[in-house]
Symmetry: C2
Subunit: 164 residues, 2 copies
C-alpha cells in the first residue's frame, strides 16, 4: 500500500477558536507519560486548567505514578475534550498536545498566585492542595493536533493555542 | 521527603466487578503510545470494545498517528471510564491498562468474526470498516490499575479483567 496522504490541515482561525474553547472549558484531561520504571507508556486522568497566562497546568499527588514519570521524562502528551454519552465519540472534537512538564516547587515565587488561581477554577482542591506531596506542574505545549472528526484535523503550534 | 507508602490495594472482588463493568460499558478510550518518530508520548481517542473472549480491541485508521506508533512500539496504555460533566472528575472510577497491541491482518482467519462482532457493538463503523487502511488491533493486558477516587486504587492482573 502506498504511503497515505498527510491528512492534517494547517491551522486556520476556526481551528484556533475551537482549540482555545476546548482548553478553556477543560477541567480534566488524559495524560500520556513515559513510565519511570519501565520506559513504556503510562496513562492517567488529571485535573486540568490554564494558568493566568493561558498555559496548561495540573495539580499532582505524590502518590500518582505520573509524578515519578514526569520527573524522569518531562515530555508528555495531554488530551482534552470529553465525548458525551450520545453519538459517535470519534466525531467529538478533541485536542492532543505534546507538552514538556515543568514542576513548580512550593517555594517558587509564583506558587501563591498559581494556588489562588487553581482554587478559583477547582474549588474542591482546597481539601488537598496544601498536602506536602501535592505539586503544580505547567504543561508547556510543544505541538498540537486538533481532531474535529473524520477528515477534519489540524496541526497547531503553541502560539495557535494562546489567547488572541 | 521520605518515599510515600504504596497506596495500591491488592485486587478483591469489588475491584474486579468494577473493572469488568468499566470495560464492558466502554465504547471509546484514551490510548497512550510511544510516537514512532520522536520516541516520546502520544495520546489518542480510540474506539473501544471487547472481542468475543473479553479481550480489549480497537479499530484504527491508517491515517491515525497511533497506528504507526503501535507498529513501532506495541507496548501502550489504555484508559476507560469517562468522567461526567458533574462533580469532581478525579473521583470518577477509571481503569488504566498497560497493553501489548497486536494487529489483526485482514487475511487472518479470525478477521471475519472480529468484524461481525465489532459491527454489533459499533454499528456506525460499517461506513469505514472495509476501507483498505483500517485495521483491528487486540490490546492484550499486561497489568492494570483501577482508580475509584482518592484512597481507592487497586492493582489488577490480566486475569482479574477477564469475565468470571
Amino acid at each position: 500500500m502506498p504511503p497515505l496522504k498527510d491528512p492534517l490541515l494547517p491551522a486556520d482561525d476556526d481551528a484556533r477558536i475551537l482549540a482555545r474553547a476546548l482548553l478553556s472549558k477543560a477541567r480534566h484531561a488524559s495524560l500520556a507519560v513515559t513510565d519511570a520504571e519501565t520506559g513504556t507508556p503510562g496513562i492517567s486522568l488529571i485535573a486540568f486548567g490554564l494558568d493566568p497566562e493561558g498555559m496548561p497546568m495540573t495539580l499532582i499527588s505524590g502518590l500518582a505514578p505520573h509524578l515519578a514519570a514526569l520527573r524522569a521524562h518531562p515530555l508528555a502528551a495531554v488530551m482534552v475534550g470529553t465525548p458525551g454519552d450520545r453519538g459517535d465519540p470519534l466525531v467529538h472534537p478533541r485536542l492532543m498536545i505534546r507538552v514538556k512538564a515543568s514542576l513548580v516547587p512550593r517555594t517558587a515565587p509564583e506558587h501563591a498566585a498559581l494556588r489562588a488561581h487553581w482554587l478559583a477554577i477547582h474549588p474542591k482542591a482546597k481539601l488537598y492542595v496544601d498536602f506536602a506531596d501535592f505539586v503544580f506542574a505547567r504543561l508547556m505545549p510543544v505541538s498540537a493536533l486538533l481532531n474535529g472528526g473524520f477528515g477534519r484535523a489540524w496541526r497547531l503550534t503553541p502560539t495557535d493555542l494562546l489567547k488572541g
